[in-house]
Symmetry: C2
Subunit: 294 residues, 2 copies
């Protein structure tokens, strides 16, 4: 399989035709935003964005396993004082072609660019749109668990009588609880809001995201030995993180400069295959907790 663990130079729409069906477990990508990166991708006009994207999405659909997931990092730009609709139109177009719009995660960018405009504030969030081919897909929730909040320390220290048993009495929703179930539980499941700062060290890559962003989704949707595809790999962050986590990567980019940069960054990286089963389980945990307790 000579496409595995490669950074490939070319248009992903064409490159991907060389790949077999159902060979990828996760597609994680941050495509060039509309009208951005004019000097690199030629600048896709917002009105043309869906038409530009969908032929590529068809290749994504073909190479993605039925248990796989496609995570799209994107945000609509402002055009003539309005948020442009190309992102939500893209969601509708994807659904028309069979994709399931499973979820929309929110990336809260803790440090955004400063600025002031008369009619809007700084934009501190981006979308991470999750698409799937089937309702049943692989999800490894335990790999991204975070420490329980500080409330638990005092709450669970002294349990009341009602805490010892399941408390059924509820208004409406039939929601019961048994607090004693939580005793000794250190980790809880996260939610669909990610608090990450944008990476300060700029690498000439205009769509740079922090390594924790692909890391979280790679751990959530793949296992060691799986394959991660980034069809707009840019400076190679997704591929780099995948390799570090013992996943195979496929990175594609149209710009030769980015391809060179990605290959350079990946040169020293050995894919950490099965040996490092749970290499950085603590990493995200600490990161998320730090934010939460502030």
């Amino acid at each position: 399989m000579d496409y595995l663990d490669q950074i490939i130079h070319g248009d992903c729409e064409e490159v991907l035709t060389q790949l077999p069906d159902n060979c990828v477990d996760l597609i994680f990508t941050s495509p060039p935003y509309a009208d951005q990166r004019k000097n690199t991708y030629g600048g896709i006009h917002p009105d043309d964005y869906v038409d530009w994207f969908m032929p590529k999405a068809r290749q994504f659909y073909r190479v993605l396993k039925s248990t796989g997931t496609f995570v799209l990092n994107i945000k609509e730009r402002v055009v003539k004082g309005e948020r442009h609709t190309y992102v939500i139109e893209l969601i509708l177009a994807m659904r028309r072609e069979g994709w399931l719009w499973t979820e929309e995660f929110m990336w809260h960018k803790k440090n955004s660019y400063p600025g002031k405009w008369p009619n809007r504030f700084r934009d501190n969030w981006e979308r991470l749109i999750q698409f799937n081919k089937k309702r049943k897909f692989n999800m490894y929730q335990e790999s991204v668990m975070v420490p329980v909040g500080d409330w638990a320390k005092t709450r669970l220290a002294n349990l009341s009588d009602t805490d010892q048993i399941r408390d059924e009495s509820n208004v409406g929703s039939g929601f019961g609880k048994n607090v004693s179930n939580w005793v000794g539980r250190d980790l809880v499941y996260p939610n669909n809001v990610l608090h990450l700062a944008t990476e300060c060290a700029n690498r000439n890559h205009s769509a740079a995201f922090p390594t924790d962003l692909p890391r979280w989704f790679i751990k959530l949707f793949t296992e060691v030995g799986d394959t991660v595809l980034d069809p707009f790999v840019g400076s190679g962050t997704t591929a780099l993180v995948a390799a570090e986590l013992g996943r195979h990567y496929i990175g594609i980019d149209l710009m030769a400069d980015y391809v060179d940069l990605s290959r350079e960054r990946l040169a020293g990286i050995q894919i950490a295959l099965p040996i490092a089963a749970e290499p950085t389980a603590e990493y995200d945990v600490c990161e998320a907790q730090e934010e939460r307790t502030e």
Copy 2:
């Protein structure tokens, strides 16, 4: 003007026909979400949601001033494992009828509903979609400025009500104290992500959103003496906050029980209204300062 400062019982689509054109500065509302609140509003099927909403939106458009703003708090529910598309379809429908989709704010709900599912995490955010009639609209950014710095960050993360509500009981004394210490220094504009917890403790009613949510938008998009409309006023939170801030309110609800509750809650608050007679430019700034520096 007998519609001002009233909680009106009825369907907003009909009630609003009684109001003149261009009489409202801000519409802030959280309509019943699709298939939610079945026991009160009957439950609108997700597939019918846009058709249900748009006739009401036409009345909103008519009564809103051209400099006014419409802020819609909403979130799509999950249907058959997918996020339903009624919210994004609503945005497209609104634009087809002349609304501008100016911005989408994020409400990060710090305490979300518990639960665990094999294919998704807990939902910790909702949309606050900003619509306008014109590119030029009233926005008073200084009224929601926040301090910068470490202590400010924790304060911003906890815009919570406890201190503010308790301070409001002492309205009149200590108003605007030490404000001059803070004006002009260490202030920064906020961004489009709001971190607020839902209010969930035992009151007689279920407040759908915390008071800080309407408070922030009322201060941002209106001045003292302006008029705020909530066509799905529910337990009256929007009207209550508007009155506290010296704005006129118009609250409408279909459910008689909610109307009674809203009127009850507003009965004790009407003392705050006379202040509205003397609007000052500094009012909002001072108030914002006081809340944060306490």
